[in-house]
């Protein structure tokens, strides 16, 4: 059972455009939703995270939109740059358990053309 579903699998955007990646989760106990960026040969790096008490969080060109009733959240990258080309993972965790282990989506390969 895939608890976090991510789409699209791959995305091509022109420089300056908006990149949008979507995720849906099933476990209503999840209460922490981070996005990670991963470059080839590197480990995932935290980009931005949100909790369900807010509907949107913005950090620079990166925005998370969160819809608790629909159990969906999305990452928007404004003014996309070639340097943003990487694989993006959404994830979720539950703070009420014994630890904060993350459940990841399958990833989206973003290519930003110059």
């Amino acid at each position: 059972q895939q608890q976090v579903k991510q789409s699209p699998q791959s995305l091509i955007v022109q420089k300056g455009g908006i990149s949008i990646i979507n995720c849906a989760y099933e476990n209503t106990a999840f209460d922490y939703f981070p996005w990670y960026q991963q470059f080839p040969g590197k480990g995932p790096a935290l980009l931005i995270a949100i909790r369900p008490d807010v509907s949107e969080k913005k950090e620079g060109r990166f925005t998370i939109s969160f819809n608790k009733s629909a159990k969906q959240f999305s990452l928007h990258i404004m003014d996309s740059q070639p340097g943003d080309s990487a694989t993006y993972f959404c994830a979720a965790s539950y703070s009420g358990g014994s630890n904060y282990k993350l459940t990841f989506g399958k990833g989206t390969l973003l290519t930003v053309n110059p």
Binding site: P34, P44, F89, N99, Y100, K101, L102, G105, K106, G107
Partner: protein
């Protein structure tokens, strides 16, 4: 070091052999996680340590996999009788943990394991 480090960065072994993968977490981080990332997939949770104890090993695929963290810092993931299906990138992450109510996990670069 400033971040999570993992050694070796690459490991090639033969089917049936034993391997050890090492993780050095960020200094002061009490929580340590191991994940496995197969090609084209997201990381999958294996095991979690809070201090020296394995508080959650529910992600370990079978009893060939074992991990230790004897002094609450460095951790070693051990795989016995390796199989070709064990080939993947093994990622380690650390965080300040439950006491700090911090969910933010910092990942290392991973160890790429190839079982021939």
């Amino acid at each position: 070091g400033a971040g999570v480090s993992q050694t070796p960065s690459n490991k090639v072994t033969e089917k049936g052999k034993y391997v050890e993968l090492r993780c050095d977490p960020i200094s002061g981080h009490t929580a340590l996680y191991w994940y496995r990332q197969s090609l084209g997939q997201g990381p999958e949770f294996l095991i979690y340590f809070q201090g020296t104890g394995a508080a959650d090993d529910s992600g370990l695929p079978n009893d060939r996999f074992f991990a230790v963290r004897p002094e609450g810092s460095v951790s070693t993931l051990k795989i016995q009788r390796t199989e070709r299906g064990d080939s993947a990138v093994y990622l380690c992450a650390s965080s300040l943990g439950l006491a700090a109510r911090s969910e933010t996990q910092y990942f290392g670069p991973g160890t790429r394991l190839l079982v021939l």
